[in-house]
Symmetry: C2
Subunit: 246 residues, 2 copies
Amino acid sequence: MLSERIISTGRFANRPLYLQLRDALAERIAGGEWKPNAAIPNESDLAREFGVSAGTMRKALDLMEAERLLTRRQGRGTFVNDQSSDELAARFSNIRGADGKRLCGQVKSSQITEGPANEQECTRLRLRPDERVYRIHRVLQQKGQPFQVEDVTLPAALFPELEDKKVSVTERIIVLAQECGILLGRAEERVSLGAASAGVAQKLAIAPGSPLLVLDRIVLALDGRPIEWRMGWCHLGDRYYLAEMV
Amino acid sequence: MLSERIISTGRFANRPLYLQLRDALAERIAGGEWKPNAAIPNESDLAREFGVSAGTMRKALDLMEAERLLTRRQGRGTFVNDQSSDELAARFSNIRGADGKRLCGQVKSSQITEGPANEQECTRLRLRPDERVYRIHRVLQQKGQPFQVEDVTLPAALFPELEDKKVSVTERIIVLAQECGILLGRAEERVSLGAASAGVAQKLAIAPGSPLLVLDRIVLALDGRPIEWRMGWCHLGDRYYLAEMV
DNA sequence: AAGTGGTCTAGACCACTCA
DNA sequence: GAGTGGTCTAGACCACTTG
């Protein structure tokens, strides 16, 4: 029950063994072999399977826990994280409600279209001009009150599942990504000031020209590929934006 | 040359050995025994000194590198980070210039006062009502253009060095913290929308009522104590706010 | 009691830097 | 070539969870 040695034997690896192991295990998650919330084999079984020492396997698993792919619990086991869980799905949403909790707004309305990437989309998502994108326009609401209008652009090549859902997408984008075998890495968001255009004002039921927080976010996969570009126009009200820094 | 065993022997520790080691080493940095930019002994010497295995000492050092206290370089050694370096000193400043670089604005003007903490300061800095604070009012500029007004509140007990400098503080607060033996942990910043009051507008040379980004930031020490509360009113111009998420 | 992850040890060799 | 951190191994025991 020994997997073939991934690339190279022992200490003559081009890349450290534990990184190769991380990639191999991440592939099992991305490929759906290991499902969200499922327990994976214990570390000594995995070490045996891959022909490495337990310590090296541990290093790979610890790294994956830091990357939020796994959760390890002493005495219980190691589990695949469910990216659609409340905690993980909202991790790139910095808008907080008055209670201080991350706000995962409900989708009030949504439209999706598809077409070739324009210049700006190519730049932000590092696409070639001939590549296609999905464009999702949404209005988010909290307790029945619309508070954010957003335009999401996704590289079509990465989201085959969207082929069917040409009408509307009320799901969280992160859930889509998980279904498409995309592992999330990090994100960065530019925050600036704006005023509500007539169209936005109408959708948010506010006066045209009202001040808005403008959010411009890129989400990157674990391998560094850009997978989402989102422009948001947010009417804060009693909400606020919270950035955490280390 | 064996340090006394810090708390407990080997595997009967209440807290893991590597955490006790981290604390002991961090204390050497905070206490000024190991200066910024200096090299510290290599990991096997340290392991010997503390009577632990090299692997355990490595785990402590790796943790401290993740906490941005140390930098390790293969073939060279392990060095104490200088928190006043450009990279580290600006790490909690999310305002970026047009070039995308973190903006560490120059201090245009600065006043400092001292007094008992008010209610809000007690809440934000977790102080008792009788504790005293320093209050610093500043205007920051970039290329001669003022762009941010800020009010900084610091617990007086943590910043003994400020006793002398009652006039103005043009240094970075982080540099002060380093001199006072405070190790920085993390920060969180609330971002919201505001309009320039008459006073702020005048200091920023903009029209009263102009839209501003309002920043409300708490910086915590490595041990979790709040060490700084800062309210900022920022005229963005061609600058922007960048939040990075993992 | 059995099984899991968490800590710790002791030792080997590799990759890098610098005199 | 000497000295550093980085990787890897093989094994022990601890702390926690569950049946």
